[in-house]
């Protein structure tokens, strides 16, 4: 850590100002964007970077995964466009993960340098998950069979979309020609750029309020602060090496699960540090479910921030205490031109494997495995053309002191009434699935069933994991249920879709249903308080049969009350059979 140069009070105050500027950028983006993905589902984020392009502050509302849109973006921008070539009023656009951009093409990222009195003082940036970036099929979710990134959409390196306040129409034309629904993307672009202009103006005011060198020093010290907090948090973990193995379901040409192997080394000396090593992890996959290195680092930071100190900024200072190593060309460190559109599948399982590994290191205990991630994409060709993408929540892992969260995802769903206004589809159901939470002393969260009824000839595509390998339970807790996606369930023509199904035709009155899986349980189900089991039965989250079978709790079908004696006997018997 560098020598403290500034009054800590000034650093705290400037840190607060950055947070509020980053918030304002995001509010501006969400409130004026055109895509449902941004305006309703808020699949977007914002940051402030220092003049060297290092992330200093990510806004509170930003999605954890989106740190990857910025982590190396600023430095890559400066390598390509050195400081002296930058102008006030420049806006850069980038979406290519292999040339210093985000972690998949859909997260289109915008960056603006901020100048004060002619000097570069910072960058402001935002990113948004566009419903479409061109490529072989409409919308990201229809890309399961892409075998290289070129098929996944338009690749944009870090280029100027606006130069010194002037929109570069040539670049804009290329982008708009290559995406479906260009009118709406143009609306999104205006929202991205408009909100960055607001943010840049606020940063200039901040620079004017302090001297440039004070602002620069404060940004530097905010990195030091994150480093100190990270290292301090590491001291609360027990030293040691911890390993875990989880699997991603399968690959395009193989039913063999792909291993995600992780070793976490926690050290208190010479300085508290953590090394996360993915040696032994499989891949790269043929499916677009690979994660580039900076995406993997992002998710590791997300998990470690939540364990070490939920308030710490996962910035370039935090990075000093955490080392992430992964073999070149594997599932968690894919290389050009590996496809990676559905990289969030890996992102959803990195926390599960880290939690599994660290369950011995975190004194207060840790969460069991979750349901993965499930992206559903619907689209149609003209004249009914539309593109719609949504993620569906499943069950969260149970916790050491309470049940897992029911029906949860890191990104928002789309209100059904908003969907029905914009797209030719109706929802038939949105409900919890009984008996989907992994049994345990604390039950895994239950999954969600959602049914979409088509009204016009359309296509459905999906990106979804944990169809073969369930969210793991912890400490005798059982696994959650698997996810299934079915066309026309409850009918004679029911057909289970592949988890990476692409371009599946569906017509009027066809129903597409996801049964999103549940989370893993925590602790032995035989130790669950029978009253909680009875409550779950009353609420229809656990069936009477499952109460008996999984928890050894006998519930009277009429009164829904626990038969204490029968329960004690049954549990005794189950324990002795175990």
């Amino acid at each position: 850590m560098s020598q403290s140069r500034l009054n800590p009070i000034t650093v705290e105050i400037i840190g607060n100002s950055l947070a509020s500027i980053a918030d304002e950028i995001l509010v501006g983006l969400i409130k004026s964007a055109y895509s449902t993905n941004i305006k309703e589902r808020q699949d977007c984020s914002s940051v402030i970077m220092d003049a060297q392009g290092r992330v200093v502050c990510i806004s509170d509302m930003s999605l954890p995964m989106h740190l990857s849109s910025f982590m190396f973006t600023g430095e890559a921008l400066l390598r390509r466009h050195p400081n002296e070539t930058l102008h006030e009023g420049d806006v850069f656009i980038v979406n290519d993960p292999y040339s210093g951009g985000p972690s998949h093409l859909a997260d289109v990222t915008f960056v603006t340098p901020v100048f004060h009195q002619g000097e570069l003082v910072a960058f402001v940036a935002n990113t948004g998950h566009w419903p479409d970036v061109g490529g072989k099929a409409p919308g990201q979710a229809a890309l399961g069979d892409a075998t290289e990134i070129y098929q996944e959409g338009l690749r944009i390196p870090t280029v100027r979309l606006q130069k010194a306040g002037e929109v570069q129409q040539d670049i804009l034309d290329i982008v708009l020609l290559n995406v479906r629904d260009p009118h709406n993307r143009e609306g999104d672009i205006r929202a991205h750029m408009g909100s960055l202009m607001l943010g840049a103006r606020r940063m200039k005011e901040l620079a004017a309020q302090y001297d440039v060198y004070i602002l620069t020093d404060a940004l530097d010290q905010l990195l030091d602060v994150a480093e100190v907090k990270a290292r301090h948090g590491i001291l609360s973990l027990a030293e040691g090496d911890y390993e875990a193995l989880d699997h991603l379901d399968d690959d395009m040409d193989s039913d063999e699960p792909i291993p995600i192997r992780v070793k976490v080394s926690v050290r208190h000396k010479p300085k508290p540090s953590i090394k996360v090593d993915y040696a032994g992890t499989g891949g790269p996959a043929k499916f677009g479910i690979n994660m580039p290195y900076h995406g993997t680092v992002t998710v590791v930071f997300w998990v470690l921030r939540s364990i070490l100190d939920p308030e710490v900024q996962p910035n370039a200072g935090f990075e000093r205490a955490i080392e992430v190593v992964a073999p070149d060309g594997c599932l968690v460190n894919c290389k050009d031109p590996s496809p990676l559109g559905a990289r969030y599948e890996v992102a959803s399982q990195i926390p599960d494997s880290l939690f599994l590994a660290l369950s011995g290191a975190v004194k207060k205990g840790i969460e069991a495995g979750g349901h993965g991630t499930h992206g559903m994409g619907f689209s149609a060709q003209p004249p009914n053309s539309f593109i719609y993408y949504e993620t569906v929540g499943g069950g969260g892992g149970a916790r050491p002191d309470k049940d897992g969260v029911n029906g949860v995802h890191i990104t928002s769903n789309l209100p059904i009434e908003a969907m029905e206004q914009e797209f030719p589809m109706m929802a038939d159901r949105l409900e919890y699935i009984p008996d989907s939470g992994g049994p345990g002393r604390f039950r895994g969260g239950v999954g969600i069933r959602k049914d979409w009824r088509m009204m016009v000839d359309s296509y459905v595509g999906v990106h979804s994991n944990r169809h073969r390998i369930p969210g793991p339970g912890l400490l005798e807790g059982r696994d959650g249920t698997l996810t299934r996606i079915v066309r026309n369930p409850d009918s004679d023509i029911a057909e289970t879709l592949h988890r990476e199904a692409t371009f599946v035709p569906v017509g009027p009155d066809d129903v597409v249903t996801i049964f999103a899986g549940g989370g893993g349980g925590y602790g032995s189900p035989l130790e669950r308080d029978p009253a909680l089991v009875a409550q779950d039965v009353t609420d229809g989250l656990v069936s009477i049969e499952a109460a008996r079978r999984d928890y050894g709790v006998v519930v009277d079908p009429e009164s829904l009350k626990v038969d204490s004696e029968a329960t004690a006997d049954l549990r005794q018997e189950m324990r002795s059979n175990a």
Binding site: D23, K31, V228, G396
Partner: protein
């Protein structure tokens, strides 16, 4: 007989009463500890207090009440046992919400448990589509089956929210009829009546909340009215303050109790509007800083801005109502930005050596270290004591002794030591950090909304507001600060001057073009009529009814609307063009861009109407000339960031007279608040006793 009005604001710590004599313009005040276990007790304590005084309470015709009773019911989970009726397949909408975690990095923080448990969320077969067409007729048998379950389960209230009912309310109306018939004593909350706007989770959450708070609110109001009847020969009309800054009669509020959720804070903003009117100031930032929270709100052109949704039990701050993490409730509400910092906020040095203030608060018990009640953590109040800004001799009028040495010790031990600073430097640091938090919310309501705070007057109230306002004005470049006569009782003041208000709104998705004009006019007329009806019910003659009309508009494909006022009758395309122009300008101001060529749509047609309550004149202070020496108390040392320790004069607020001028540095002390007048600032006492502080920034813009 004189006509009297009583304003009663029940806050977390104190219940404030203001009795207003309409004829003489005189004001009488009473402050008593709140009684959370039965809030009507502290309300009645004031009624009894004034009733016992020689002038009595005959002539009391109106009691205006600000209450947090409904918010508390939800937060403490002490509301009714409720059921929910919804469309088949959708009973978990209320529980799933937006399916996100409230906090990305706190995996142990969950969404709030829904107010209706799963086994009481029942479904009926029916479906209408987004255009209001019936896709599946309502199965009335299902409704009766639900009613039977609710009867057996002894449910006290039922919320009804069917999909797309904003587009066609027929099914919900029929469900209501059947429930009224089968469950005559059960309180009903129907979504198409209470919130006929799209987004099913927000609508469900709104009606569930109404059902949850309705029965207990009804009991509270009944109890209060009974007590008033027992106490007074002629009980006054009871009005309740709404979050939107206008009153409604208790009878009306019982049907829509969610309108009162931010009752108290709204009254403070309203008082700012009113005082502004008297002073001919229409652009104001209302700033209320109390013991545990601070609230800021922007008033432009004499009007506060109104948002259409609140969230109860929100875990994270800074999400601006965009990412929903609590229980959303659709109700018009003054746009207030809040932060958890106030006089009682605790300061600490974190592991990285940064100074943090709040959100933990010392509360009333044990309170700041200087209270000598066992508190050892340094608070903002302790910092003010160490810096001489709160004088031991005048705190709460000397009723409560404060011990500066305890404040000094807490700050030295917990802050000064670890940071290597003197006690005064550390205390100033605490103020700097808490002021930065305050500046943040003040900027959120101004700069983030596209307004320059330097063009606004800072109206500082709440117990701690006037202490900090000078520093905040410096930071923001504000030219003038106004400190009202009784800053600690300002919300109660807002109650006695409030008009009666009602809102009507409907979702229409219409292109903003000439072809839609007939439909827009028709909707405006219907909403206007509804407002007029409500106000007539409240006893207002047509000449005392004022209706404001708005279109909520957005670019086609956006999902957030801006509220654009409509002047005139929209008879012509030219009038519509005027409204559109205002929309583009608002968009540019709010989000940094606009596109006059992009298609615009009207989403909601809305009316806000006021029933005008006569505004009595307040008594004027006699002039005392510029010299304030009659109010002079003495000189004491006060620390100022710019100039260090200075001997500065202290004045007694109640002895100041109109036209008195006080040049900073100086302190003005009063019962429950102190005013800091910084070096270079100059305060003038106005005709109602308000202090208008000129910060000397007038030449900046």
């Amino acid at each position: 007989m004189t006509r009297l009005r009583l304003g009663v604001d029940v806050g977390g710590t104190f219940t404030d009463h203001i009795l207003f004599d309409e004829d003489s313009g005189r004001i009488f005040t009473f402050k008593t500890p709140s009684t959370p276990e039965d809030p009507s007790r502290s309300v009645m304590a004031g009624v009894k207090h004034f009733g016992a005084a020689p002038r009595g309470l005959s002539g009391l015709w109106l009691m205006a009440h600000g209450t947090t009773v409904n918010t508390n019911t939800v937060l403490s989970r002490t509301g009714a046992k409720i059921g929910l009726v919804t469309t088949k397949g959708f009973r978990d909408v209320l529980a799933i919400g937006r399916q996100t975690r409230p906090h990305f990095y706190r995996w142990d923080v969950d969404r709030p448990e829904p107010l209706a448990p799963r086994h009481l969320r029942l479904e009926v077969a029916e479906r209408v589509d987004n255009r209001g067409e019936v896709v599946l007729p309502l199965c009335e048998e299902d409704v009766r089956r639900c009613a039977e379950v609710f009867r057996v389960q002894a449910v006290e209230a039922v919320a009804v929210c069917l999909l797309n009912s904003y587009a066609n309310a027929d099914h919900e109306s029929r469900v209501k009829e059947i429930l009224e018939e089968t469950l005559p004593d059960v309180y009903l909350a129907i979504s198409s009546e209470l919130s006929p706007e799209f987004r099913e989770f927000e609508r469900s959450s709104t009606v569930a909340t109404v059902a949850y708070i309705g029965p207990s609110f009804q009991r509270y109001v009944d109890e209060l009215q009974r007590s008033l009847s027992n106490e007074l020969k002629a009980p006054p009309q009871l009005y309740i303050m709404q979050s939107s800054g206008g009153m409604a009669s208790a009878e009306v509020e019982m049907r829509r109790p969610h309108y009162t959720l931010e009752s108290g804070p709204a009254a403070g903003v309203l008082a700012s509007v009113d005082l502004g009117q008297h002073l001919d100031m229409s652009n104001i930032i209302s700033f209320d800083m109390g013991g545990t929270t601070a609230k800021a709100s922007l008033i432009q052109g004499g009007k506060p801005s109104i948002v259409s949704m609140l969230e109860i039990g929100k875990d994270a701050t800074g999400f601006y109502g965009i990412r929903i993490t609590g229980m959303p409730v659709r109700t018009p509400s003054i746009d207030l930005v809040e932060c958890s910092a106030g006089g009682g906020s605790i300061a600490q040095v974190d592991v990285a050596g940064l100074l943090k203030v709040g959100p933990a608060s010392a509360g009333a018990d044990p309170g700041p270290a200087c209270y000598g009640a066992g508190g050892t953590e340094p608070t903002v109040t302790d910092a003010n004591v160490v810096l001489g800004r709160i004088s031991p001799d005048f705190f709460l009028g000397g009723r409560m002794k404060i011990q500066p040495e305890l404040a000094q010790r807490a700050i030295e031990e917990k802050i000064g030591g670890p940071l290597g600073m003197s006690a005064s430097e550390a205390a100033q640091g605490i103020l700097d950090v808490v002021n930065a938090n305050m500046v943040r919310i003040l900027r959120v309501v101004s700069v983030s909304r596209g307004f320059d705070p330097r063009r606004f007057v800072l109206m500082a109230h709440g117990g701690a507001g006037p202490l900090h306002a000078g520093d905040l004005a410096e930071e923001l470049g504000v030219e003038r600060i106004v400190v009202p006569p009784d800053p600690g009782l300002f919300s109660a003041m807002g109650l006695v001057i409030s008009d009666v208000q009602t809102v009507a709104s409907t979702t229409r998705f219409l292109p903003a073009d000439a072809a839609s004009l007939p439909a827009i006019r028709e909707s405006l007329a219907a909403q206007t009529e509804q407002c007029n009806e409500t106000l007539s019910e409240e006893g207002f003659t047509p000449e005392n009814q004022v209706v404001e009309r708005f279109l909520e508009m957005r670019y086609v494909r956006q999902n957030f609307e801006l509220e654009v006022p409509v002047n005139g009758d929209l008879q012509s395309k030219a009038e519509l063009d005027g409204v559109l122009k205002a929309f583009h300008n608002m968009h540019l101001q709010s989000y940094g861009h606009s596109d006059p060529n992009a298609p615009v749509e009207v989403v909601n047609v809305k009316c806000r109407a006021s029933g005008l309550v006569p505004k009595p004149q307040r008594a004027q202070l006699p002039s005392g000339g510029p010299n304030p020496s009659d109010a002079f108390i003495g000189r004491r040392r006060v620390f100022f960031k710019s100039s260090g320790w200075l001997e500065c004069p202290h004045y007694d607020r109640v002895k100041l007279l109109r036209d008195n001028v006080i040049r900073g540095p100086a302190m003005v002390c009063q019962f429950d608040s102190s005013v800091t007048i910084l070096p270079g600032h100059m305060a003038t006492v106005g005709s109602m006793g308000e202090l208008v502080i000129d910060t000397g920034k007038g030449d900046v813009i």
